[in-house]
Amino acid sequence: MLYAVVSGFGAALVAPLIHQSVRRWSGWLLVLLPLALFGYFASHMEQISDGEKIAFAYTWVPSLDVELAFMLDGLSLLFVLLVSGIGALIVLYGSAYLADHPQLGRFYAYLLMFMASMLGVALADNLITLFIFWELTSISSYLLIAFKHDYESSREAAKKALIVTGAGGLALLAGLILVGIEADTWTISELASRKDVIQEGGLYLPALLLILVGCFAKSAQFPFHFWLPYAMEAPTPVSAYLHSATMVKAGVYLLARLHPSLGGTDEWHAIVTGVGGLTMLIAGFIAWQHTDLKKILAYTTISALGILVFLLGIGTGLAVKGAMIFLLVHSLYKGALFMVAGSIDHETGTRDIAQLGDLAKSMPFTAVGAGLAALSMAGLPPLLGFIGKEIIYEATQEAHDLLPLVLTAAALLANIFNVAAAAMVTLKPFTGQAAHTPKHPHEAPLAMWIGPVVLGGFTLAFGVASNLLLKDFFAQTVAAVYGKPYEVKLGLWHGLNTTLVLSVVTLVAGGLLYAYLRQILPIVKPLNVGEKLGPDRLYDIGFEGILDFASLTERFFQNGHLRYYLMTIIFTLSSLLILTMTTQIDFDSIQLNVDDVLLHEYLLAGLMIAAAITITMTSSRLMAVAALGVVGYSVALLYVFYGAPDLAMTQFSIETLSVVVLVLVLYRLPKFKDFSTPRSRARDGIIAVMFGGLVTTLILIITSEPLQSRLSPYFAENSYVLAKGHNVVNVILVDFRGFDTMGEITVLGVAAIGIFALLKLRPSSRKEE
């Protein structure tokens, strides 16, 4: 099973090469991989339906308990079949949709990488492994949304999706770790048996909230839903695959997967049901107010994800069954409808339904797929969508612990919106009067219409023969989510009951909404406050705020004035020094010892001070340089007096060189000028004197303490014994610390090169550029 997951990553690596070599047929060649995977997983169908689970584990990071553990059960099988099956259709579809695109090879690579990551998410049986694949899906989603990277809107949309889902991912990681700590296991299939430990522990609520944030961000639940409509910037095959049929369901998958261990509490019911319900209503409400096919589909996708979350929040056996059936229903019809939308866009040049009409004649095959998908979306018998909707209504009516009436009303409203949207995306473009489109419409190529037709066919077959085809398998799927065995019965006819009445009401109300759309739209327009106050706006404001803050701090700290940098450094250093001194130092222990000072030493000190003060006072450049030289030679003399002949020699020669260089350079510069005001001079003077005083105090403190050095005795003892040198200072430089000296030589070399380059630089040479 590891090979099944890894093969996608491997194929992603070679996909661009395959595309380069076979060009036109690359789609038909690459589709073999998802098809093979679909076959491989489908071959386990019987085993899984019998209630078996297939598990594989490979050691990865044993010290952290991270295993490449995979498990195939009813829930993961449903997901991997959807991922590989729809993946196959999308590879074909993409090969035709992007046939002329120069980066088609890269598209295949991203798509296959995504597919492998998604398989990993669905199969992972280790919390950390799951998280890694989860993040890989976010990254491949980012790459695919930004596929048309030369458009700014694509890049922005991709960034938004990555930031929202990435931030959710971080929350998720924290939540998963908390769960892992509380349950003392990282294996997902063991979590359910420790349900009580997890739910009674103190970490339950934070863990639940963090995991929910991750799931809601991924599955575009309110208030994180806003990234999904932007993600429609991606090429349509991507929207069909990632942003409706598979990736956005990862959050739903994880909720379902963790339902047996985290679900069933009051918090779970309140938050999950509440957020799901809110999302399905808000998104459903917005959906039918758009006219762009992809926008309508995007919002109905959010709404459908809301329904799934809502059902998982209710969490009864019936609700779980409804969620799993509806998940299949939605993936089938929404994948098909997105492909249809892409075909329409491809063949007519527009996605605006106001400009479309009567395409059924020119695009018959696409119309068949679209019709089946839309009927399923609207929930008409005998399609699978009808069964899904019936179970949803049954589940809401039966949720006695929660508020059956409110839940049923909410579900009814969401489904009415859905019916209207289904009518809009198919009735309007395919029937009625022909409209003038940018391109003359004709049927899409085989690779593009086969997807909707196959998915539509499945919807029909599953609807007609639901009990025969799905019963045993879904019993296992529901059991995996519900946590205990659950008997699943499916069928079109449930008798004459409230549920049927609700279905009829849904259809009639949805139909009326579509019929009177033009009259209703102006009435509801003022209700759309989301654009001004919604989370999307908040995101933008927050983002601008971060940038503003960054430029503010940058302007403050990187102000371009050397003296302010110096002041910052001095201020920080002084504060730290003063803080340490006042808390750690006993000032009484400072000794001022001047008994042993000889007369010529006093004279030397006086000379240095006088020279230093001259530098600050003089208005002549030469005088300043000369005074600097006096300080330097005085320092050298001091080295002579205090047993440092090497230093003295170096200092004498360097000082001479410095003075020569400075005089040569300064000769070309203007006279000493006072640019600054007396006030700023006074301010700088105070700062400088205070810092000087601090340094003096520091030296007095240090020299009052006895010196403890372990290095100096070592050098004294070993310079000759180990390095055969009589001059200890030289031995340290060239032997004990030889590498430092090499670094020093390198610095000098670099400086020399820099000086040479600067001297060669001529202003005229800049003009020629």
Partner: protein, 118 residues
């Protein structure tokens, strides 16, 4: 002597810092030089002063014995002197080139690398 030098070093630091905070480029270089001397002396003094006893091992001896000046700060300072010289010369040449191109030695006026119109 450490006490006396502590005051000398304090004054050198003050002068160096004060000069570096000026707007004139020339003062900046000279301030850099003064600061370098101050830092070297700081290391020297903190390592304690020993009059007239350089850390040299006698012709027929194998280890340093008796009182001797600490070789470690001397090694550090030797490196610092040379590096300081490199920095100072580089800064001097850089400033000279900058002045030639920008036409001012006022740090606050040096806001772009564009040449001034003749």
């Amino acid at each position: 002597m450490e006490t006396v030098l502590a005051f000398v070093i304090g004054i050198l630091f003050a002068v160096g810092i004060y000069l570096m905070m000026r707007r004139s480029l020339v003062k900046l270089i000279i301030g850099l030089g003064v600061l370098g001397h101050a830092a070297n002396l700081l290391i020297f003094t903190v390592g304690r002063l020993t009059r007239g006893e350089p850390p040299l091992i006698g012709k027929h001896e194998e280890v340093l014995s008796g009182t001797f000046a600490d070789p470690l700060p001397q090694a550090l300072i030797l490196t610092a002197i040379v590096i300081g010289f490199g920095v100072q010369v580089f800064a001097a040449v850089l400033i000279k080139s900058a002045y030639r191109i920008v036409g001012t030695d006022d740090l606050d006026e040096m806001k772009s690398t564009d040449e001034t119109q003749p």
